[in-house]
């Protein structure tokens, strides 16, 4: 029978009549005994990729809610994607702990600042964070921008602010970061690929 995992769960959980379950070659009693407790059946399944090593294993993320605007979803389970030709449903000890990373107690939740010389963090708004950082950037760029080098050649660079670009984010974020940094004239940039 041609049925994907998701349809399989749906059929099972819906507790359909014996006829359709029998079609799948299952005995109705056994199947009905299974369906009652299977929590993934009512979860939303999303295909994603493990962010750890470069095998980039396909994962299935199960979350509560149906992705509608007013429902808050929570990830309840992550497992390997059996359709992915590389990992074929497997995950290693690193990837098996993915949910605990997403829900780590050390997740940051709001912008903070540690003022010069201070001993603690202070919560601030995004507006304050963006405003203060942008002012720092502009002041440094305007003060230290090198339009021409000693030989009088146009070089248009801003060497005094550096940026380490994440290798953990998606290509699109990396591209946008590079495009923006280059437009600002930043030449002190690097990424984890180096180390």
């Amino acid at each position: 029978m041609n049925m994907n995992r998701r349809q399989f769960f749906k059929v099972c959980s819906a507790g359909l009549g014996g006829s359709s379950i029998a079609l799948m070659g299952f005995s109705p009693t056994a199947a009905l005994a299974e369906v009652r407790t299977f929590k993934l059946a009512r979860a939303t399944e999303t295909r994603n990729i493990c962010p750890y090593c470069s095998v980039s294993c396909g994962v299935l993320i199960y979350s509560t809610g149906d992705k509608s605007k007013n429902s808050q979803s929570e990830i309840i389970h992550i497992e390997g994607d059996p359709d992915n030709p590389v990992n074929r449903g497997t995950l290693c000890p690193k990837g098996a702990g993915l949910r605990d990373m997403i829900q780590s107690e050390n997740r940051l939740k709001w912008p903070e600042v540690r003022e010069a010389g201070a001993s603690e963090w202070k919560r601030i708004s995004w507006n304050e964070a963006f405003d203060r950082i942008a002012k720092h950037m502009k002041a440094d760029r305007d003060a230290n921008f090198v339009a021409q080098n000693a030989d009088g050649l146009t070089v248009n660079r801003w060497p005094t602010t550096g940026f380490l670009v994440s290798s953990a984010s998606q290509n699109e974020a990396g591209y946008l970061t590079v495009k923006t940094l280059r437009a600002l004239g930043i030449t002190s940039l690097d990424t984890q690929a180096r180390i």
Binding site: R47, A118, A193
Partner: protein
């Protein structure tokens, strides 16, 4: 990887050196097991430690960390002196026959042109002899003593099995056994795949370690073959993609070499980046550089990039000198950097010499952390006992910490080690007030832009005119960005052979980089990704895993760059006449009118074999390089040099030349040379490594991983433990000349003492994953110990070979 993860299953020999995929890439390593199970392939491992990859290998040989070139040079010598090479392949597909300039030479560890004061070479003789026809001269018989083949043979004749054993500590019989395995794949229908990771890159000679394998795979005829190639097993899930986007100073997206102070205008820049073919009839694909570069400028500055203003050439910053993690932190340490951003990056833990990094961060005016997690770096200013002994009042750096979303909370693409670009879908919202990386960049950029528009300031044009036509300017979507990366036609793209024919209509997505133009009619954010989102839609989201060839190519799963090609150099999987070397693993063959098979041809589709268009289309030679000309910093042939911290007094290959002890072309900053320790005070070789339960400094934040591996430990051999009176479970102190850490001793049989140059050498293995922030037991940062020196070409730090001493804590 030149090939891809699943293709490992097609190998006859899986050779693992400089990596430990069973623990670091477990789900990819399963394909090595498949090869063993289904093809009766052999698995051979060379490593300082009998790791878990070794535990399932057919053969394991130990090696002293930092002596890989001596070992691999010995393999090259073995293949050449025992005539175990794929002759037809070497002759046709490599530069074996090319004649080398008469001025080039090598004496006692140093190549021609060395400047000791500058620690660099004048490479003007590292080149081919050129004929009057403008092409490189060759000797098809390979007999001329100046041909690359003969010069290579002479160079490696010094790498005898005895010398290998003396330098590496590998027993001679074990070395020869490994050579026999490797040599068995010189047969036309046998392949070896090489799997390596940071065990090769994190050395002061990292690039040349890998060059050795490139030479070996050329000699064996394994490049381009299914089950062949070289597999760089990379770090993060998207480190390949971010490298492709070139989030570093030397290149622009798609590996376009960035302009420097030497490139005064667009014309001279393009001229120096666009090579001329070195042999007749070759594709010399980089001749298209102007199309790639112009299309990038159009993607970034749109209508503001015109022929009149050199397509906004001056909007791009020119690189003035070194710029890499080590040089940037050195500049920071010297007080030359004022502001710094760490986006998903924890340099206090991941850059060598923690003290120097911390002192550098303390000199900043402002530091911005963009991360989903509370990293060690974000609290470099905060006291965490002896793990981070600092006084906040003395540190004037203003530190911002901005929460960002994780993989599960965004959509977009990751590119795996096998160059396959795959779409991911968003599963949940990030906690609290977190924002996506793209949103944070957009907010900062648009604020700056508004300030420049209002107040003016230094050279505002590239900021004010940067293309930013996203539907929600503060929230560019991954879909829009991937379309921009793919590229589109700005005006109609015409057929050069028949200008009445429109190939791509204005405004449409480009089908591939073949349609890029250098006249401003196309825009493309990254040429190598062109084709991922053509007019038909997002090919990275394809999920058809069917595999009609049985080779595991799955051409309709995601999209591999370039042009969905899964095996690079695949033209070389067939002989010069177009017949596959191994018909059972046909990747490509000449059908009489075109190249076809089970992959996208890495060749002009209609290039008939008799045209002699050679497979290595990205090289102006058309062939692969045994002799690397002036491409690397320390020489056209790899030569063994000792790590900067070596247990030996000299380089056993050049005992009387102190200049040739360690990499003569490696950059060492003032103060760092003095911070190197000597074997007198620090007698043990240390090497850092990774555990299967942890990923870098990330999973220490996850509860389940912290339960599996809760605490920092250090691995030592039984003999050393006995000598030092240490038993398993003791707390020990590990010191280098840069600092100390304390950890629990694990005493194992996995690391054995080696006999190196008449001296007993012990190795200390140090996992990296711990720190003072996280769910694991608070611990020291391993990179407190490591030396601040890198590979001479790419400045990857020497994390894998340095010196320590140990004692009971």
């Amino acid at each position: 990887m030149t090939n891809h993860w699943v293709d490992i299953k097609n190998a006859d020999l899986v050779f693992v050196m400089g990596g430990n995929p069973a623990e670091a890439h477990p789900c990819g390593f399963k394909w090595a097991i498949e090869a063993k199970k289904n093809r009766k392939a052999k698995l051979v491992v060379v490593d300082p430690r009998f790791n878990r990859t070794a535990s399932v290998a057919d053969y394991y040989a130990p090696i002293r960390s930092g002596s890989d070139i001596a070992f691999l040079g010995g393999v090259i010598n073995y293949l050449l002196s025992n005539d175990k090479i794929h002759h037809e392949y070497v002759k046709a597909y490599t530069n074996a026959s090319f004649l080398i300039d008469g001025g080039f030479g090598f004496e006692d560890g140093i190549f021609t042109g060395y400047n000791e004061e500058k620690r660099s070479y004048d490479k003007s003789t590292w080149k081919y002899q050129m004929g009057d026809d403008g092409f490189a001269k060759v000797d098809e018989t390979l007999q001329d003593p100046r041909c690359a083949f003969q010069m290579m043979k002479a160079h490696y004749s010094r790498y005898t099995p005895e010398m290998v054993s003396q330098v590496c500590g590998t027993p001679k019989d074990a070395f020869l056994k490994v050579c026999e395995y490797i040599a068995s794949t010189a047969a036309a229908d046998k392949t070896m795949t090489s799997l390596y990771a940071l065990g090769w890159t994190e050395h002061s000679v990292g690039s040349q370690n890998i060059r050795c394998m490139a030479i070996i795979q050329q000699l064996l005829g394994n490049m381009g073959m299914a089950g062949g190639g070289i597999g760089a097993l990379r770090g993060h899930a998207n480190v390949q993609g971010i490298t492709d986007m070139c989030a570093y100073a030397q290149n622009l997206p798609g590996y376009l070499k960035a302009p420097t102070d030497a490139d005064k205008d667009r014309a001279s820049y393009l001229a120096s980046r666009t090579p001329k073919a070195l042999r007749p009839n070759q594709m010399n694909f980089p001749q298209n550089f102007p199309k790639w570069f112009t299309s990038l400028c159009k993607a970034w500055w749109g209508d503001a990039a015109t022929a009149e203003n050199d397509f906004a050439y001056d909007y791009l910053p020119k690189l003035g000198g070194a710029s890499d993690t080590l040089s940037i932190f050195n500049a920071m340490y010297e007080g030359k950097i004022n502001g710094f951003f760490c986006q998903g990056f924890n340099p206090l833990a991941s850059v060598p010499n923690k003290r120097k990094v911390g002192d550098g961060l303390a000199k900043l005016k402002y530091l911005v952390i963009i991360d989903p997690l509370a990293t060690d770096t974000s609290e470099f200013w905060k006291p965490h006992g002896e793990f981070n002994d600092v006084k906040p009042a003395e540190i004037q750096t203003e530190v911002f910490r901005l929460p960002t979303s994780l993989f599960a909370e965004t959509s977009g693409t990751f590119t795996n080690s096998g160059r396959v670009i795959q779409w991911r879908w968003k599963a949940a919202e990030a906690p609290g007030d977190s924002k996506d990386d793209t949103e944070i960049i957009a907010n900062l950029f648009l604020r700056l832009k508004a300030m420049y528009a209002k107040e003016g300031g230094a050279f505002a044009d590239p900021i004010l005119k940067l293309t930013w036509n996203y539907t929600q300017p503060l929230k560019p979507s991954s879909e829009e960005l991937l379309r921009e990366i793919n590229g589109k036609a700005i005006s109609d793209v015409l057929d050069p052979k028949d200008p009445t024919k429109v190939l791509v209509k204005a405004g449409e997505q480009l089908p591939s980089f073949a349609f890029l133009r250098d006249d401003g009619s196309t825009a493309c954010g990254n040429w190598i990704y062109s084709g991922v989102w053509p007019q038909a839609g997002n090919l990275s989201a394809r999920r058809d895993n069917s595999d009609p060839s049985g080779l595991g190519q799955t051409l309709n799963w995601g999209f591999a760059w370039p042009v969905n090609r899964r095996i690079l150099y695949n033209r070389a999987s067939a002989d010069p006449s177009g017949k596959p070397w191994d018909a059972k693993r046909t990747v490509l063959k000449w059908t009489g009118s075109a190249w076809a098979g089970n992959d996208i041809p890495d060749m002009r589709p209609n290039a008939a074999p008799e045209e002699m268009v050679m497979p290595f289309i990205m090289n102006p030679e058309g062939v692969a390089r045994l002799f690397a000309r002036d491409m690397l910093a320390e020489g056209p042939f790899p030569e063994h040099y000792e790590p900067f911290e070596s247990p030996l007094d000299n380089n056993p290959m050049h005992p009387n030349n102190p200049k040739a002890k360690s990499n003569p072309a490696a950059r060492v900053y003032k103060g760092d040379m003095e911070a190197f320790g000597t074997a007198k005070d620090f007698p043990y070789v240390a090497t850092t490594y990774r555990l299967t339960e942890h990923f870098h400094y990330w999973t220490k934040q996850s509860r389940i991983n912290a339960i599996m591996q809760p605490e920092q430990f250090v691995e030592i051999g039984e003999e050393l433990a006995k000598e030092k009176g240490i038993v398993a479970g003791d707390r020990i102190k590990i010191r280098s000349n840069r600092g100390f850490i304390k950890a629990v001793a694990v005493v194992t049989k996995r690391i054995k003492a080696l006999d190196v140059d008449g001296k007993k050498v012990h190795t200390v293995g140090i996992p990296i994953h711990f720190g003072f922030k996280g769910a694991t037991k608070p611990g020291f940062i391993t990179n407190t110990l490591t030396p601040f020196v890198g590979d001479a070409n790419v400045q990857t730090p020497e994390f894998k070979a340095f010196l320590v001493n140990i004692e009971k804590a």
